[in-house]
Protein backbone atom coordinates (compact mmCIF):
# COMPACT_ATOMS: atom_id res chain seq x y z
CA UNK A 1 0.00 0.00 0.00
CA UNK A 2 1.04 3.58 -0.56
CA UNK A 3 0.69 5.78 2.52
CA UNK A 4 0.98 9.56 2.46
CA UNK A 5 2.39 10.62 5.80
CA UNK A 6 2.58 14.33 6.51
CA UNK A 7 3.10 16.77 9.37
CA UNK A 8 4.01 20.39 9.93
CA UNK A 9 7.59 21.25 8.93
CA UNK A 10 8.18 22.38 12.51
CA UNK A 11 7.19 18.94 13.77
CA UNK A 12 10.13 17.55 11.83
CA UNK A 13 12.53 19.19 14.30
CA UNK A 14 10.38 19.11 17.43
CA UNK A 15 8.95 15.60 17.05
CA UNK A 16 11.42 13.80 14.78
CA UNK A 17 11.46 10.66 16.94
CA UNK A 18 7.67 10.33 16.69
CA UNK A 19 7.74 10.90 12.93
CA UNK A 20 10.52 8.34 12.52
CA UNK A 21 8.57 5.87 14.63
CA UNK A 22 5.55 6.28 12.36
CA UNK A 23 7.67 5.85 9.24
CA UNK A 24 9.18 2.76 10.85
CA UNK A 25 5.73 1.24 11.46
CA UNK A 26 4.74 1.90 7.85
CA UNK A 27 7.92 0.28 6.53
CA UNK A 28 7.84 -2.69 8.90
CA UNK A 29 4.51 -3.68 7.41
CA UNK A 30 5.97 -3.52 3.91
CA UNK A 31 4.13 -0.36 2.88
CA UNK A 32 5.70 2.60 1.13
CA UNK A 33 5.57 6.32 1.72
CA UNK A 34 3.93 8.29 -1.09
CA UNK A 35 6.52 10.99 -0.56
CA UNK A 36 9.98 10.82 0.96
CA UNK A 37 10.30 14.24 2.62
CA UNK A 38 10.87 13.85 6.34
CA UNK A 39 14.57 12.98 6.51
CA UNK A 40 15.54 15.53 3.81
CA UNK A 41 13.53 18.20 5.63
CA UNK A 42 15.15 17.26 8.95
CA UNK A 43 18.62 17.60 7.47
CA UNK A 44 17.79 20.89 5.77
CA UNK A 45 16.42 22.41 8.99
CA UNK A 46 18.92 20.89 11.42
CA UNK A 47 21.91 21.92 9.34
CA UNK A 48 20.33 25.21 8.30
CA UNK A 49 20.97 24.35 4.66
CA UNK A 50 19.65 27.02 2.37
CA UNK A 51 17.91 24.63 0.05
CA UNK A 52 14.14 24.60 0.03
CA UNK A 53 11.80 23.51 -2.69
CA UNK A 54 9.55 26.16 -4.14
CA UNK A 55 6.14 26.28 -2.41
CA UNK A 56 4.53 25.49 -5.75
CA UNK A 57 6.55 22.29 -6.07
CA UNK A 58 5.77 21.30 -2.47
CA UNK A 59 2.07 21.82 -3.17
CA UNK A 60 2.19 19.78 -6.39
CA UNK A 61 4.13 16.94 -4.75
CA UNK A 62 1.71 16.75 -1.82
CA UNK A 63 -1.39 16.81 -4.01
CA UNK A 64 0.16 14.10 -6.20
CA UNK A 65 1.04 12.08 -3.10
CA UNK A 66 -2.55 12.25 -1.82
CA UNK A 67 -3.82 11.23 -5.25
CA UNK A 68 -1.59 8.12 -5.32
CA UNK A 69 -2.00 7.20 -1.69
CA UNK A 70 -4.25 4.46 -0.35
CA UNK A 71 -4.17 5.99 3.14
CA UNK A 72 -3.23 9.34 4.63
CA UNK A 73 -1.67 9.79 8.08
CA UNK A 74 -1.15 13.23 9.57
CA UNK A 75 0.77 14.03 12.74
CA UNK A 76 -1.03 17.20 13.76
CA UNK A 77 0.56 18.25 17.05
CA UNK A 78 1.90 21.50 15.55
CA UNK A 79 -0.67 23.87 14.01
CA UNK A 80 -0.35 23.79 10.24
CA UNK A 81 -2.38 25.26 7.41
CA UNK A 82 -0.78 22.75 5.06
CA UNK A 83 -1.87 19.78 7.18
CA UNK A 84 -5.42 21.09 7.26
CA UNK A 85 -5.43 21.59 3.52
CA UNK A 86 -4.21 18.04 3.02
CA UNK A 87 -6.85 16.58 5.34
CA UNK A 88 -9.57 18.37 3.39
CA UNK A 89 -8.10 17.25 0.08
CA UNK A 90 -7.82 13.65 1.25
CA UNK A 91 -11.44 13.65 2.44
CA UNK A 92 -12.58 14.99 -0.93
CA UNK A 93 -10.59 12.18 -2.61
CA UNK A 94 -12.25 9.61 -0.33
CA UNK A 95 -9.00 8.47 1.28
CA UNK A 96 -9.02 7.02 4.79
CA UNK A 97 -7.28 9.54 7.05
CA UNK A 98 -5.71 9.23 10.49
CA UNK A 99 -4.99 12.45 12.36
CA UNK A 100 -2.87 11.85 15.47
CA UNK A 101 -2.11 14.50 18.03
CA UNK A 102 0.04 14.50 21.14
CA UNK A 103 -2.18 14.74 24.23
CA UNK A 104 -0.37 17.74 25.65
CA UNK A 105 -0.68 19.63 22.33
CA UNK A 106 -4.45 19.50 22.04
CA UNK A 107 -4.74 23.03 23.47
CA UNK A 108 -3.03 24.18 20.25
CA UNK A 109 -5.48 22.31 18.10
CA UNK A 110 -8.05 24.14 16.07
CA UNK A 111 -11.75 23.66 16.81
CA UNK A 112 -12.16 22.63 13.18
CA UNK A 113 -9.88 19.61 13.45
CA UNK A 114 -11.45 18.57 16.75
CA UNK A 115 -14.85 18.81 15.14
CA UNK A 116 -14.04 17.25 11.77
CA UNK A 117 -16.20 14.22 11.21
CA UNK A 118 -16.40 11.92 8.24
CA UNK A 119 -16.70 8.18 8.01
CA UNK A 120 -13.16 8.07 6.56
CA UNK A 121 -11.65 10.42 9.16
CA UNK A 122 -10.14 9.13 12.42
CA UNK A 123 -8.70 11.38 15.11
CA UNK A 124 -6.61 9.92 17.94
CA UNK A 125 -4.52 11.34 20.76
CA UNK A 126 -1.29 9.78 21.95
CA UNK A 127 0.97 10.13 24.96
CA UNK A 128 4.12 8.27 24.03
CA UNK A 129 5.75 6.18 21.31
CA UNK A 130 3.93 3.02 22.45
CA UNK A 131 0.58 4.73 21.83
CA UNK A 132 1.80 5.89 18.41
CA UNK A 133 2.84 2.35 17.45
CA UNK A 134 -0.54 0.94 18.43
CA UNK A 135 -2.69 3.70 16.91
CA UNK A 136 -0.88 3.78 13.58
CA UNK A 137 -0.52 0.00 13.42
CA UNK A 138 -4.24 -0.52 14.08
CA UNK A 139 -5.22 2.11 11.49
CA UNK A 140 -3.06 0.49 8.82
CA UNK A 141 -4.36 -2.97 9.65
CA UNK A 142 -8.01 -1.86 9.51
CA UNK A 143 -7.46 -0.29 6.11
CA UNK A 144 -5.12 -2.76 4.46
CA UNK A 145 -6.16 -4.26 1.19
CA UNK A 146 -4.31 -5.99 -1.57
CA UNK A 147 -2.73 -3.54 -3.99
CA UNK A 148 -3.08 -5.85 -6.94
CA UNK A 149 -5.66 -4.76 -9.51
CA UNK A 150 -9.05 -5.61 -8.09
CA UNK A 151 -11.78 -7.71 -9.68
CA UNK A 152 -15.52 -7.81 -9.31
CA UNK A 153 -18.49 -9.29 -11.17
CA UNK A 154 -20.22 -6.85 -13.47
CA UNK A 155 -23.78 -7.80 -14.48
CA UNK A 156 -25.27 -5.99 -17.50
CA UNK A 157 -28.32 -6.35 -19.74
CA UNK A 158 -28.28 -7.32 -23.42
CA UNK A 159 -28.43 -3.72 -24.67
CA UNK A 160 -25.29 -2.72 -22.76
CA UNK A 161 -23.56 -5.95 -23.73
CA UNK A 162 -24.24 -5.36 -27.42
CA UNK A 163 -22.96 -1.79 -27.15
CA UNK A 164 -19.70 -2.86 -25.50
CA UNK A 165 -19.28 -5.78 -27.91
CA UNK A 166 -19.73 -3.51 -30.96
CA UNK A 167 -17.34 -0.93 -29.57
CA UNK A 168 -14.81 -3.67 -28.84
CA UNK A 169 -15.09 -4.93 -32.42
CA UNK A 170 -14.71 -1.43 -33.92
CA UNK A 171 -11.81 -0.31 -31.72
CA UNK A 172 -10.05 -3.68 -31.39
CA UNK A 173 -9.94 -3.10 -27.63
CA UNK A 174 -11.14 -5.61 -25.08
CA UNK A 175 -14.49 -5.08 -23.40
CA UNK A 176 -12.69 -4.53 -20.08
CA UNK A 177 -10.54 -1.78 -21.62
CA UNK A 178 -13.62 -0.03 -23.00
CA UNK A 179 -15.38 -0.09 -19.66
CA UNK A 180 -12.23 1.18 -17.90
CA UNK A 181 -11.93 4.06 -20.39
CA UNK A 182 -15.57 5.02 -19.88
CA UNK A 183 -15.05 5.08 -16.11
CA UNK A 184 -11.87 7.14 -16.34
CA UNK A 185 -13.61 9.62 -18.63
CA UNK A 186 -16.46 9.94 -16.14
CA UNK A 187 -14.01 10.39 -13.24
CA UNK A 188 -12.16 13.14 -15.12
CA UNK A 189 -15.43 14.87 -15.97
CA UNK A 190 -16.45 14.82 -12.30
CA UNK A 191 -13.09 16.23 -11.21
CA UNK A 192 -13.57 19.19 -13.55
Amino acid sequence: MVIHFTASRFSVIKNIEVLRAIVGIIHKRGHVLARDWIEPQYHVMAANINRQMSPEKVYDLNMDAIERADLVIIEGSEPSFGAGLQVATAISKKKPILLIIKKDSTHNESMLSQGAHDVLFTRKEYEGLDDVQKIVGDFIEENTFNTKDLRFNFVIDRQLHNYIRLKSFKTKKTKAEIVRELLIRDMEREEK
Binding site: H27, V32, A34, D36
Partner: protein, 150 residues
Protein backbone atom coordinates in the same frame (compact mmCIF):
# COMPACT_ATOMS: atom_id res chain seq x y z
CA UNK B 1 15.85 17.67 -5.83
CA UNK B 2 14.23 14.28 -6.39
CA UNK B 3 16.60 11.38 -6.80
CA UNK B 4 15.50 8.12 -8.38
CA UNK B 5 17.64 5.43 -6.78
CA UNK B 6 17.42 1.86 -8.06
CA UNK B 7 19.27 -1.37 -7.38
CA UNK B 8 18.66 -5.11 -7.56
CA UNK B 9 15.78 -6.11 -5.32
CA UNK B 10 17.84 -8.67 -3.41
CA UNK B 11 20.25 -5.92 -2.34
CA UNK B 12 17.57 -4.73 0.05
CA UNK B 13 18.16 -8.01 1.86
CA UNK B 14 21.81 -8.84 1.22
CA UNK B 15 23.30 -5.39 1.22
CA UNK B 16 20.84 -3.18 3.08
CA UNK B 17 23.54 -1.21 4.87
CA UNK B 18 25.11 -0.07 1.61
CA UNK B 19 21.73 1.03 0.27
CA UNK B 20 21.05 2.86 3.52
CA UNK B 21 24.35 4.69 3.23
CA UNK B 22 23.40 5.95 -0.23
CA UNK B 23 19.95 7.00 0.97
CA UNK B 24 21.46 8.78 3.96
CA UNK B 25 23.83 10.70 1.67
CA UNK B 26 20.88 11.79 -0.47
CA UNK B 27 18.82 12.82 2.56
CA UNK B 28 21.69 14.60 4.31
CA UNK B 29 21.87 17.02 1.39
CA UNK B 30 18.16 17.75 1.73
CA UNK B 31 17.02 15.73 -1.28
CA UNK B 32 14.20 13.18 -1.53
CA UNK B 33 13.93 9.76 -3.04
CA UNK B 34 11.48 9.49 -5.91
CA UNK B 35 10.22 6.28 -4.39
CA UNK B 36 10.33 4.78 -0.93
CA UNK B 37 11.03 1.11 -1.74
CA UNK B 38 14.10 0.04 0.16
CA UNK B 39 12.91 -0.25 3.77
CA UNK B 40 9.56 -1.86 2.81
CA UNK B 41 11.47 -4.39 0.67
CA UNK B 42 13.82 -5.10 3.57
CA UNK B 43 10.79 -5.65 5.81
CA UNK B 44 9.32 -8.06 3.24
CA UNK B 45 12.51 -10.07 3.23
CA UNK B 46 12.46 -10.63 6.98
CA UNK B 47 8.75 -11.00 7.66
CA UNK B 48 6.36 -13.78 6.61
CA UNK B 49 4.88 -13.22 3.14
CA UNK B 50 1.32 -13.02 4.38
CA UNK B 51 2.25 -10.15 6.70
CA UNK B 52 4.02 -8.19 4.00
CA UNK B 53 2.71 -8.91 0.53
CA UNK B 54 4.69 -7.72 -2.50
CA UNK B 55 2.96 -5.02 -4.54
CA UNK B 56 1.79 -5.94 -8.02
CA UNK B 57 4.56 -5.94 -10.64
CA UNK B 58 2.02 -4.64 -13.17
CA UNK B 59 1.47 -1.57 -11.00
CA UNK B 60 5.21 -1.17 -10.38
CA UNK B 61 6.00 -1.27 -14.12
CA UNK B 62 3.12 1.02 -14.99
CA UNK B 63 4.43 3.70 -12.64
CA UNK B 64 8.10 3.62 -13.76
CA UNK B 65 7.84 6.14 -16.59
CA UNK B 66 6.17 8.79 -14.43
CA UNK B 67 8.40 8.22 -11.42
CA UNK B 68 11.57 8.61 -13.48
CA UNK B 69 10.12 11.52 -15.47
CA UNK B 70 9.43 13.34 -12.21
CA UNK B 71 12.94 12.75 -10.89
CA UNK B 72 15.81 15.17 -11.39
CA UNK B 73 18.65 12.62 -11.41
CA UNK B 74 18.97 8.84 -11.39
CA UNK B 75 21.39 6.70 -9.39
CA UNK B 76 21.61 2.99 -10.20
CA UNK B 77 23.70 0.35 -8.42
CA UNK B 78 24.76 -1.95 -11.24
CA UNK B 79 27.48 -4.17 -9.76
CA UNK B 80 27.94 -7.48 -11.52
CA UNK B 81 25.27 -8.62 -13.89
CA UNK B 82 22.59 -6.49 -12.24
CA UNK B 83 18.95 -6.99 -13.12
CA UNK B 84 16.45 -6.57 -15.95
CA UNK B 85 14.52 -4.07 -13.89
CA UNK B 86 17.54 -1.86 -13.21
CA UNK B 87 18.53 -1.96 -16.88
CA UNK B 88 15.01 -1.10 -17.94
CA UNK B 89 14.95 1.88 -15.64
CA UNK B 90 18.36 3.14 -16.80
CA UNK B 91 17.09 2.94 -20.39
CA UNK B 92 13.97 4.90 -19.44
CA UNK B 93 16.16 7.50 -17.74
CA UNK B 94 18.36 7.77 -20.85
CA UNK B 95 15.31 8.25 -23.06
CA UNK B 96 14.14 11.00 -20.70
CA UNK B 97 17.61 12.59 -20.77
CA UNK B 98 18.10 12.38 -17.02
CA UNK B 99 21.57 12.67 -15.48
CA UNK B 100 22.55 9.15 -14.46
CA UNK B 101 25.14 7.76 -12.06
CA UNK B 102 25.94 4.06 -12.44
CA UNK B 103 27.70 2.68 -9.35
CA UNK B 104 29.76 -0.50 -9.48
CA UNK B 105 31.82 -2.16 -6.81
CA UNK B 106 34.67 -3.95 -8.50
CA UNK B 107 34.11 -5.36 -11.98
CA UNK B 108 32.41 -8.42 -13.40
CA UNK B 109 34.75 -11.14 -14.80
CA UNK B 110 33.69 -10.56 -18.41
CA UNK B 111 32.72 -6.91 -18.04
CA UNK B 112 29.04 -6.03 -18.23
CA UNK B 113 26.50 -4.36 -20.52
CA UNK B 114 26.71 -1.16 -18.47
CA UNK B 115 30.41 -0.87 -19.37
CA UNK B 116 29.30 -0.14 -22.93
CA UNK B 117 26.91 2.70 -22.16
CA UNK B 118 28.19 6.00 -23.42
CA UNK B 119 26.19 9.19 -23.04
CA UNK B 120 27.04 12.76 -22.17
CA UNK B 121 25.18 12.92 -18.87
CA UNK B 122 25.88 9.35 -17.82
CA UNK B 123 28.61 8.72 -15.29
CA UNK B 124 29.86 5.24 -14.49
CA UNK B 125 32.01 5.06 -11.37
CA UNK B 126 33.55 2.28 -9.31
CA UNK B 127 33.22 2.71 -5.56
CA UNK B 128 34.80 1.20 -2.47
CA UNK B 129 33.47 1.05 1.07
CA UNK B 130 35.46 4.20 1.79
CA UNK B 131 34.52 6.23 -1.27
CA UNK B 132 30.80 5.46 -1.64
CA UNK B 133 29.35 8.51 0.13
CA UNK B 134 31.79 10.93 -1.50
CA UNK B 135 31.00 9.65 -5.00
CA UNK B 136 27.24 9.94 -4.46
CA UNK B 137 27.56 13.37 -2.84
CA UNK B 138 29.78 14.68 -5.66
CA UNK B 139 27.32 13.49 -8.29
CA UNK B 140 24.38 15.10 -6.53
CA UNK B 141 26.32 18.31 -6.05
CA UNK B 142 26.89 18.53 -9.82
CA UNK B 143 23.16 18.84 -10.35
CA UNK B 144 22.01 20.70 -7.25
CA UNK B 145 20.28 23.87 -8.21
CA UNK B 146 19.63 22.70 -11.75
CA UNK B 147 16.36 20.94 -10.94
CA UNK B 148 13.34 22.36 -12.74
CA UNK B 149 11.69 25.12 -10.76
CA UNK B 150 7.96 25.66 -11.19
Amino acid sequence: MIVHFTARLDMATNNIEMLRRIVKTIHSRGHSLSEDWIEPQYARAILPADQCPMPSWVVICRERQNIIANSDVVIAEVTGYSSFGVGHQVALAQALNKPILLLTKGSAPFGSYSDGLDQENLLRLTYTDESLEAIVADFIEMYEGSEALD
